[in-house]
């Protein structure tokens, strides 16, 4: 394994991300912060929602931000790079096995997802103001969940990026990603769906459910949430499946 090449490719991605950083940060922050303001401040202060909602909302917002950032950070450039211009070719021709080019994309995506989570977390917390019952008692599990969610987003981005073309990506975002966010148990706990039994079981195919419930379980254990052990196991299984599928398709797309 050629770590020099791998590190150089990571540096390249970091360099490009740094160049686009101001736009990326605005893009990452804007929606979650607006959402947090409306639901965490306006709705609660006007009495339309209970104050406990703050602690419920924060982990979900982190899950959405991380997932969206990772998916976009990996899939969008990949789609561009595999287009007509085949920009990715200088990395495919670098002295490293082709699979590692994809692994590098996953690592770069994970890092961006983690950075996004770490930016949104304090910002959203600050907007929510006082009375947010978040605890860090389960720090180890929280970090493990965070890493699994980051990997989920990056591996998902890889699979998406090598599976759809530029013409379909808009459709994918509006038809798949948008419902995913709404049914991702980010704005409400999974338990809240018990009055819609069909929906409650149907959403189990949605990876965001496990990201939201997992982060909720570690940050706000007082809110109803899925058992953390199950969430971690499912996240690990999803990660493995997406890495396998993503690498496979990447290889097929890279070599004709």
């Amino acid at each position: 394994m050629n770590w020099t090449t791998f590190a150089a490719m990571l540096r390249r991605d970091a360099h490009v991300a740094r160049r686009n950083a101001p736009m990326l940060i605005v893009q990452t922050m804007l929606q979650p912060i607006l959402f947090v303001f409306v639901f965490g401040q306006v709705m609660i202060r006007s009495g339309l929602m209970a104050p406990q909602y703050k602690a419920m909302l924060l982990p979900g917002i982190i899950a959405i931000s991380m997932l969206m950032t990772g998916v976009q950070a990996v899939s969008m450039p990949l789609i561009m790079e595999f287009q007509f211009t085949r920009e990715i070719e200088d990395r495919l021709l670098a002295p490293i096995r082709i699979e590692w080019v994809a692994v590098e994309k996953i690592v770069a995506g994970m890092l961006q997802a983690i950075v996004s989570g770490l930016i949104v977390f304090p910002a959203a917390w600050a907007v929510l103001g006082t009375n947010v019952s978040i605890s860090f008692d389960r720090l180890g599990v929280f970090i493990a969940t965070l890493l699994l969610v980051a990997l989920l987003s990056a591996a998902g981005g890889l699979t998406l990026g090598v599976s759809v073309g530029q013409t379909q990506i808009g459709l994918v975002f509006s038809l798949i990603i948008a419902p995913m966010i709404m049914f991702g148990c980010a704005y409400y706990p999974w338990a809240a769906l018990k009055t819609f039994p069909f929906v409650q079981y149907a959403v189990l195919i949605n990876p965001l459910v496990y990201a939201s419930e997992g982060l909720r379980g570690t940050l706000a254990p007082q809110v109803p949430h899925m058992p953390t052990a199950i969430v971690v196991a499912v996240l690990a299984a999803l990660d493995a499946a997406l890495i396998f599928a993503g690498l496979n398709r990447f290889f097929k797309k890279a070599v004709s």
Binding site: N2, T4, T5, A8, M9, R11, R12, H15, V16, R19, P77, M80, F84, T85, R86, E87, E89, D90, R91, L92, L93, A94, P95, I96, R97, I98, V255, S256
Partner: protein, 337 residues
């Protein structure tokens, strides 16, 4: 101590649409049995065996879709052959990919630059992928930018570059890690005549340092003036191989006189064959390709024999000994078709 290239019976059949670079004109839609759905099949390479010596400038000459780019693709790990083997030096390209990739530099037919980077960054990051230390790669980039007349645009993102500039960046990039074997797929496409001459000079100079160069082209002048040896490729097969001089000598007579008459000329062919200096006559309908050891002086006798047979001469084209004639001789088609 250079590195040679070898391929043995390379075959490549695309069963789905190939990438743009390898799209061939030799597409075959073969209907399978009674199934209504047609099976998509393109035979891009049909048993290509080549031996390219270390330190040689070798040319693959052929029309679009002949299989040149696919051959380069297989040799550069970008296209997996359906069967056959390819070696760069002692490394089997498909078994020891990483070792093979270390030895090669590749300029693709279409500029495939990293559009998120500036010209200088493209060169330095490329060198970094190949493990060249920071100071060395920065210095090398400065030299290359100067060499390819890109210094004044070095810090611009390449997205806005003209085609010729992108091509120059591609070539500079491929040479950044000083590869033993340089692949150039249609390198002078989109270059103005002046830059083309600069490129030829750079290729010759790189070759003088003992490097092996494989270039593909459909430009006869380029193949003729640059290459030590040439393989003429058509429909996935090598149809002729040798030095430019050797190859041109295989065309009967060297000169080609293409003529067209007012009507079919079946009866006229034996007469034409007997004209002094004529080596071979290929007739097709109203046209004939006459291979001979002279050009202009033959037109009078051809016109005379035509009018004796009651035919009018409508069109005459004379070409001097060239690789174009060679290609025509072997395939009956022009390289430009």
């Amino acid at each position: 101590m250079g590195v040679g290239i070898r391929t043995h019976e390379l075959r490549k059949i695309y069963t789905s649409a190939p990438p743009m670079t390898a799209a061939g004109s030799a597409a075959v839609f073969a209907a399978r049995g009674r199934k209504k759905k047609q099976k998509f099949e393109i035979k891009a390479l049909d048993g290509v065996s080549l031996e390219i010596h270390a330190g040689e400038i070798f040319g693959l000459l052929g029309p679009n879709g002949a299989g040149k780019s696919t051959t380069v693709g297989v040799l550069t790990t970008r296209v997996e052959p359906t069967s056959g083997t390819a070696w760069i030096g002692e490394y089997d390209v498909w078994r020891d990919q990483v070792a093979a990739k270390k030895l090669i530099g590749v300029v693709q037919q279409r500029p495939n630059l990293d559009f998120s980077l500036t010209a200088r960054e493209i060169l330095t990051f490329h060198a970094a992928y190949f493990g060249i230390p920071a100071r060395e790669r920065a210095q090398k980039a400065i030299e290359m930018l100067e060499r390819f007349q890109l210094t004044d645009r070095a810090n611009d993102v390449v997205r806005g570059f003209s085609g010729g500039m992108m091509q120059r960046v591609s070539i500079a990039r491929a040479m950044m890690h000083d590869p033993q074997v340089l692949f150039l797929d249609e390198p002078s496409t989109g270059l103005d005549p002046q830059t083309r001459l600069l490129l030829w000079e750079i290729i010759r100079e790189y070759n003088r340092a003992g490097k092996t160069i494989l270039l593909t082209t459909h430009n006869m002048d380029e193949a003729d003036s640059l290459c030590n040896r040439i393989a003429i490729v058509d429909r996935g097969k090598v149809i002729a191989l040798g030095t430019p001089t050797e190859l041109k000598a295989t065309v009967p007579g060297g000169y080609l006189v293409r003529v067209r008459f007012s009507a079919g000329l079946d009866g006229l062919a034996p007469t034409l064959r007997n004209l002094p200096g004529v080596r071979e006559v290929k007739v097709e309908g109203q046209s004939a390709d006459i291979y001979a050891d002279r050009g202009g002086p033959l037109v009078g006798p051809i016109a005379a024999s035509a009018s004796a047979a009651g035919l009018d001469l409508c069109d005459v084209h004379i070409s001097e000994p060239s690789l174009e004639n060679l290609f025509l001789h072997h395939t009956g088609r022009s390289l430009r078709q």
